[in-house]
Assembly symmetry: C2
Homo-oligomer: 341 residues x 2
């Protein structure tokens, strides 16, 4: 039995120790959805008006797709899936069509999916021929006893599940191929040699992600990516790692990360957000802001995340110059690219 | 500036709210090491005296190897590495030589490694020809900018790092081959078809792991496995997933898990132990016991973990009938297999 000192301590703690619980101070949203299309050195000087408009339009379209699902009583999982399919099919983002190329000039795709109600999860890494990796991640979750499949095995499973295959060239856009050719003048590249990155890794962490809360109060999260530019050795980043790039728990939040994946794995960023909310009783904005703008900054790690809690509160922090992002709630719509907007 | 109410609250909290900090109530150990060789339905009825002795001797030898490193002022990382190499080379455990076989009759190995001082980490998944996967995981950590490499790429990287290769048959013991043949009467197995497991997945979660604290106060953790019996589709379990099967942070603990890997990924078990210690101020035994014997039991997940904190306190909880395990500290040595010993 808890002593009276315990309760006195908790009462005083509630008065003074805690961050204000912002999520409790606003009404519960009926539904909510947030998306990202990657973080990095995304600055206005490097952007043409046409390209900027194309990004804004794509983010807006993606939100509409997800919001329509939620508005009509669909599940958070379906909203996440449909939204990410659109972002994967768009050549603008580093996921599905438009993925960056590996050292060997191929698109190699990772994705993950998590259901906040059951905490079931699925992930795929290093796939080259499945058109929509997010569908493969969801199929792993729903149709297999496993969480994480990779490479040819993941592709075989996806094919047996009836998912569409494409040649690897389907994913490769002119823009990515040109970028690859510039950094690989000795085409074909040597097959051995030490790891090297020919452009700063802080350049652009392309990833797409979506988190959603549906009218039934369930959360879901998904993330999809082509990974790091010029990656080698079947490198896997944080996107398909449950707890690093993606997490969902109805008791706390749904979260999808984007950034320098190695750091997001080492600091278990996605699960850490959930843990801070559960154990420190921080609200989603406070916890997400602390992780991205304090903890990761101290470690020299760049990136951002999107998160939604069980009340529909949304956080979109990033510590890079820009992050393609947006959210929608009943009567609200926001799309942003640069830091100040 | 913090208000006086804050400090009064904290003072009262320290008197009454917290779990007792057992790690602070015992003297700091100069060094400490703990190991596991997997958890599962390990019961005396299924064991011959000779086999039991062989397991006890192997666990004892492994502890001696690691303890010698620490006693002589070596690093926790070297102790973890040397101990796991011994366990990988032993045919008794499901890691390296003696790994269980995949659906296709191959050994497919995963491993991970983490340094508590820097929180650098390395992991490899689905390797078939590198003799000691733990060396590959450490090489990824120390010699690449990445954390997680898989399949042929991971093998290529390990080869470039000068690690020993072996034919896949090196890993396959008579015992594992006989087990595989019994469940695969139609040899060779069909290449397609739905996932099936031909023995209960609760049977035996073979994994080996080691955690250590060195005289300099640094923690390290490593895990290595052949994964789940009869696994398909390049399935990856929790062992190579940083935050799920392995974690190390000098501020909290070093931990290596063994069990039904899919659950350990979904609940980010290794990082959760660290998070509970950091955020709830639980000691390592309280936090580890809660996760394994309450949280995971409620979720229907079986397995165990080994952990050591920065004071040399050790926890070895498991919720299965047995777990191959042991630990050593100055003047102390323990080896156990079954629940009650």
């Amino acid at each position: 039995m808890k002593s009276s000192l315990y309760w006195i301590g908790c009462f005083i703690g509630a008065l003074s120790c805690q961050q204000p619980d912002r999520s409790a101070s606003v009404p519960q949203a009926e539904y909510a959805i947030a998306i990202h299309g990657g973080a990095g050195t995304i600055v206005k000087e490097n952007m043409t008006p046409d390209l900027e408009n194309a990004y804004r339009e794509a983010l807006d379209n993606a939100l509409t797709i997800g919001e329509d699902v939620l508005k009509n009583g669909g599940t958070a999982m379906d909203a996440v899936e449909q939204t990410i399919i659109y972002l994967e099919d768009s050549p603008l983002f580093n996921a599905g069509k438009g993925a960056v190329l590996t050292y060997d000039g191929l698109a190699e795709l990772d994705a993950s999916f998590m259901d906040g109600a059951t905490q079931n999860a699925g992930a795929v890494g290093g796939m080259q021929i499945i058109r929509n990796p997010i569908l493969a991640a969801r199929a792993v979750m729903e149709q297999s006893p496993h969480v994480f499949l990779t490479g040819k095995g993941a592709e075989q499973f996806a094919i047996e599940q009836g998912l569409d295959t494409v040649p690897n060239t389907y994913f490769i856009t002119e823009r990515r191929l040109e970028a690859w050719k510039q950094t690989h003048p000795d085409n074909p590249p040597p097959k051995t040699g030490i790891l090297k990155t020919t452009r700063p890794v802080t350049d652009y962490y392309g990833t797409v992600g979506c988190v959603a809360l549906d009218r039934a109060g369930n959360l879901a999260a998904g993330t999809s990516t082509g990974g790091m530019n010029d990656k080698r050795y079947n490198r896997i980043g944080d996107s398909p790692v449950i707890g690093a790039g993606t997490y969902a728990d109805n008791a706390t939040c749904a979260v999808s990360c984007t950034g320098h994946g190695e750091y997001f794995i080492r600091y278990a960023v996605a699960y850490d957000l959930s843990a801070r909310m559960a154990y420190l009783k921080e609200d989603v904005a406070t916890a997400a802001n602390y992780i991205i703008n304090q903890r990761l900054v101290e470690k020299g790690a760049t990136g951002g995340l999107i998160a939604v809690d069980h009340n529909g509160q949304i956080a979109l922090p990033f510590n890079t110059p820009g992050m393609y992002r947006g959210y929608a709630r009943p009567g609200e719509r926001y799309v942003g690219i640069y830091k100040e907007e």
